[in-house]
């Protein structure tokens, strides 16, 4: 059959590549020191010297955006890693073995996924205090149920497949079946879910930082930059635009990528 064009995958991949590349660049090199304060250069509008202008401390916004994107991506990666690994493990075991534990955990996941992640993260932060580690752990734990639910469904479907049944009749151990037969089947659902989870993690982290409950200053974070910039919206609108556009670009890239991957899976 003729290969169908998938512009979403194409654009999403390109934008994601661009943002990840920019973040990687920011980790090793930025045009200016993102935390260097310069009273003389407060609120410079965007120019060739400062691509995206400077903020209220005279810091270079472009450098800060680069590093902020890196922070967002790193946090999102940790969050998704925690959520995906634990969620997949729990979902796999629940779906494969079933039983009362499965029933209970499924109900629990249903309840947790009904709550918006920002609200739950707020609760966790109010209990555990603010900070980067807390945010990563809080969001990571909150991402477990959505992955667990997805994997559970897939694993339960696999369990009833005839080739698994025959493997069991031949005396293959449960552990081997899980690793050799069920795990490879999960790739199809997990890859788009990871990309979409990444997307949600970036939004949640930005929201929490915007509320001052995520990454703490002076480390650059897109959410807290956006929150700071609001005070100077009239004086330095470019500050708010840069930080906000960076968040939107990250989310746009990963949402298109996730959408494209799902379409390819369906096609």
């Amino acid at each position: 059959m003729k290969k169908k064009r998938n512009p979403m995958l194409l654009f999403g991949g390109a934008i994601s590549l661009l943002t990840v590349g920019a973040a990687l660049l920011g980790a090793f090199w930025t045009p200016y020191n993102p935390t260097a304060v310069s009273a003389a250069e407060k609120f410079c509008p965007p120019s060739l010297v400062h691509l995206l202008g400077t903020d209220n401390f005279g810091r270079d916004v472009f450098s800060r955006v680069l590093q902020g994107m890196g922070a967002s991506l790193l946090i999102a990666a940790c969050v998704v890693a925690i959520g995906c690994l634990l969620g997949a493990a729990i979902g796999c075991l629940c779906g494969y073995f079933g039983g009362p534990a499965d029933f209970l955990l499924t109900r629990l996941c249903d309840v947790v996924t009904a709550f918006p992640s920002v609200l739950l993260a707020l609760v966790v932060v109010s209990l555990a205090g603010r900070g980067t580690v807390q945010i990563v752990l809080a969001l990571g734990v909150l991402f477990i149920p959505s992955f667990a639910r997805l994997v559970r469904g897939e694993a339960a479907r696999c369990r009833d497949a005839s080739y698994i049944q025959s493997a069991r009749l031949m005396g293959v151990s449960h552990g081997r079946i899980l690793l050799a037969h069920i795990l490879p089947n999960l790739k199809g659902v997990l890859v788009p879910a990871i990309v979409i989870g990444f997307n949600n993690a970036i939004l949640s982290e930005a929201s929490m930082s915007f509320l001052g409950l995520g990454v703490q200053p002076p480390f650059p974070s897109l959410g807290s930059m956006l929150s700071d910039s609001q005070t100077y919206l009239q004086l330095a609108p470019w500050y708010a635009f840069s930080a906000g556009a960076a968040i939107a670009l990250l989310i746009l890239g990963f949402s298109l990528l996730g959408e494209g991957l799902q379409r390819r899976r369906r096609a």
Binding site: P7, M8, V111, A114, F115, P116, V118, L119, L122, V123, V125, S126, L127, L203, A206, S207, F210, L211, G212, L213, L226, S227, S229, Q230, L233, Q234, P237, A240, F241, G244, I247, A248, L249, I251, L252, S255, L256, E259
Partner: protein, 313 residues
Amino acid sequence: MKTLFSKCAALIITLFLVSALAFFAFALIPADPATTMLGSEATPEAVAALRAQLGLDRPLPVRYFEWLTGFLRGDLGESYLYRMEVGQMLSGKLAVSALLTMLSFLLTVALSIPLGVLAGSVRNRYFDAAAVGLNQLVMSVPPFFLGILACYGLGIVLKWFTPGAYVSPEKDFWGCVRYLIFPALSIAIPRSAMAVKLLRSAIRDQLGQDYVRTARSRGASETSILLRQVLRNALLPVITFLAVSLAEIMTMSILIEQVFSIPGVGQLLLSSVSNRDYPVVLAIVMLLAAWIVTIHFLADLLTRLADPRVRLG
């Protein structure tokens, strides 16, 4: 009828579990409220006296039971920081947040259904590509950033409103609504983009169904097929999404209240989180949780009512 009963039972059990979970989570945090309130120099006797006064020296299950019965009677607890009834602190703020949520919800519905029908029915490759692209872009803008853009573009540049100049609804109800329109739009626009996407694909899906061909063979016009037959089917998944939006909008308004300096429940929640004023946080979280669980329950019922296949089994 039987399903309705079991759904109600599940709703009550869920609310009960959520309340227990929230209460014990807040009861187990290491910081002792009495020490926090009196400061680190307080004598152990004074701390013990305050603990007794607050009822913190009694066993947890008893405290939970008292808190729950109080909550059900409308006694939401007392703030550690302000020594004030939480219910009293919330009264005005709840109305503002409810108003913002309702406005956002109405705008979401008003925007998403016509736009979704348009996106789903126009059969032009270029229009479709542009619509899908724009939709994805709008979906990607976080509401709080859209709010800041609105403050700048509509507030500072076009001077349609003054960011930060909030009017309380008691003083001037329509003035308040006029101010809240902008935060409500910031929430509604990305949310409707998601609904439009859902409705567009549902309409596309339904237009390929056999019953559409039947309707054509009866001589029905394309518009009447779309509005009278297809839309009713395509709206089914969207109804659930929109209903659940009511829960999402409530949390989004926590952020939007920050952007537009609206003194609502979100601001109180945030300041209480910062001040570690746990009774207030617990009460607000419990109220929001009850709201969310109830909304999901109602969304489920609504879908059942709207879809005869599910309703009648």
